[in-house]
Subunit: 235 residues, 2 copies
Amino acid sequence: MAKSPAPYNIHDYDVPLTTVDSVLFTVHDEKLKVLLVQRGNAPFAGKWGLPGGFIEQGTDTDLEMCAIRKLKEKTGIAPLYIEQLLSQGGASRDPRGWSVTIVFYALVAHVNCEPHIDSVTDVQWREVSALSAKELAFDHGQIIQLAHERLQQKALYSIVPAYALPNEFTFTELQALHEVIIGTTLEKKSFRRRIEKAELLIDTGKSTVARGRPAKLYKVKPEGRAYRFVRNLES
Amino acid sequence: MAKSPAPYNIHDYDVPLTTVDSVLFTVHDEKLKVLLVQRGNAPFAGKWGLPGGFIEQGTDTDLEMCAIRKLKEKTGIAPLYIEQLLSQGGASRDPRGWSVTIVFYALVAHVNCEPHIDSVTDVQWREVSALSAKELAFDHGQIIQLAHERLQQKALYSIVPAYALPNEFTFTELQALHEVIIGTTLEKKSFRRRIEKAELLIDTGKSTVARGRPAKLYKVKPEGRAYRFVRNLES
């Protein structure tokens, strides 16, 4: 039998500063964008950083719930896709002392949080390819780059990027999204055939007009979320 | 210009308990094994858990250095391969309160740490497939399972598992290792051809005798560490 825990007071110890941050991506105007928040307080007051912050022990049951709560505060909605990216921690990343951040990356459709984000001045969508590390707080520039690399892997091996589109989308929109994330063009017939063969989408029966022609609207099947292509979509 | 940081005292805040733990794998007697440490103190005194613990802010420059320091204490050596797995955190995983653990997984050759581990009673290699979650502290049973799944992916798409072998090894030993981790047999000719084609190994010019026949000894090339097969080694 385990003995009952000895009295324990965390404030007797030299504890690191622990935060949860998220890299929230969307696609808009055919560009990959990331959500940034302007910092009101030191350290790095005035610089832009990732949405996140301290865990609220009475509110957050786990790390992911903490990340979702912070994103809801900034966007008005919970992201449709969220996954842990990595944790960064060390003696020199925060001037206040040894600090750890547990980082998530997440996806939302731009249209779903546009009204909320438009209503505030300290939250902005920023084009990923146009960011400079200098304007960013902490190591957030490096973290965004790592999140982008992970998203590129997702775009090569899954249809997870679809969670950055509105609920219903065309094949052309899905392909354009993968191309924006990967940074290269994909062969249209092959891309379509691979995704059709994997049966990851639901035909909604509806259609829209794109470039003067009708185009079918699709949704992601629930099992599309976890599906992983054995061979990447570029090959 | 950012303002200078306002006075900040972490003990004014409700901070989570933050630890670093590692899942250290090796292979021995054709079995995949994990390093466990018997806990001397509450919580879970007497149960077995992952090697790890609190960050030493004056000693550890980052999370990985903390993980390596803890592993060195238990095995006498630094692991040849280490990579972050994930972080687990929540209100209920530690009876002392809200806690976060940043988890690494790592590989060592059994022969390299055998003398050190044999000399202590509270550290043991345990066969992964024979573990029961009940004898383990915290959520360490679940974490070991997640690390095993990650290692299986590595065994399907890379030769990273080779870091659980001695520095020099035969093709047969490498294949047996991949088979133990994946849990299935691989086709010998195809496995050998795939790895030869990727040029990931150095022929040491030496050989050993295996099953009465001479067998060449190989080492992993530095670039073998990061190489990822586009198509998995099972296919």
